[in-house]
Amino acid sequence: MIRSKIDRRKFLKLAGVGGAVFASGLPGWAEAQGMAKTDDFLWVQLSDTHWGFQGPPNPDAGGTLQKAVAAVNELSPVPDFVIFTGDLTHTTDDPQERRRRLTQFKEIVAALKVKDVKFIPGEHDASLDRGKAYSEFFGPTHYTFDHKGVHFIVLDNVSDPAAALGDEQLAWFKADLARLDKDARIVVFTHRPLFDLAPQWDWATRDGAKAIEMLMSFKNATVFYGHIHQEHHHATGHIQHHAAKSLIFPLPAPGSQPKRAPLAWNPAQPYSGLGFRQVGAKPAANRFDLTEFPVVKNT
């Protein structure tokens, strides 16, 4: 796997503090190639809501998701769609309780003004029953859709509790990519990172390198994922991978300490480290402008 870290100075220049903005892509490349222009649009990524979690890392676990929904509803302009990148619910051994949490989650997010809402599973939703309950509520765990010139591919690296995509899904992925032009605009959504971010914390996908290899011949491919409960940016060759914050508790930087334990709730700054992301897609320029929002203002 080819890896390259985004230059720290370049990142800081782009990111700023607070409502960080991160530009991803190769601006100007598409125009230089004389490609047809497509509409710019916005989408919002929310992740790792863990509905059903209870514990000191978030004393408002029963209210944070509703606050996030309210914050998304205040966005102007309104995004074209919203996607939740997994761990919608916190896991439970009880199949009935799992369905109760999925039901409650679905009811809460129904308050989103944006009606095009997409979902992908996380291991907390799907690993204990191989996606059975999740699929009853949200349909297939891997699928594609197209929007304003961008081809979106949702990959499921959680229904197998071993965190693998599996040969069958990889074959499906390969077949889907085979019908695309090499300069197609492609966005991949997953829950876990496809690359080995921190295998010692289980922040990886067993066969993720195969999926990345399949993407390598495409000039304009970007991956958005969750799982690690923090904003993170990484590149494998020319493919950018962007992790989103959580809406339940933040986790420490990859490998920064022995245990991947949640960061403590800060009463002086409640909800700090939590948030969601707006993505400004500029397909003609093959560019994504990422803006990070807090759950509540001033956090």
Binding site: V158, A163, P199, Q200, W201, R260
Partner: protein, 130 residues
Amino acid sequence: MTTCAAVTWTRRRWLKAVVAAAAPAALGPAYRAAAAPREVVIKMTVKRFEFSRKTIVVKKGVPVVIEITSLDVPHGFAVPDFHARAEIVLPGKATQVRFTPDKTGEFPFLCDIFCGDKHEELEGRLIVRA
């Protein structure tokens, strides 16, 4: 005479060489064990959400076999720093993971098959000493 002495010396040397070459086969596994460190087998179990050993101490350069059995549901066992991983650890069936630690220090091992609510806490430390 000179020629004869040379032949005798050569024959002795040849016999010495033959004996040296044949020794490992003649002495069997014991001789080979002296040449390369013997594998250390470490038996342990795993259940939700606990490894029976929280710490494993091994020696650098000595091959290790972790023989692990699940007491409840399928689990994983991985030591990423040494690229050592079990495909799956099934209940009631011993799974072996072989590796040779080639560096000293303290390294995490973990369950890498999602097993429930406290899966993220199912981990331990491998200590490799010189």
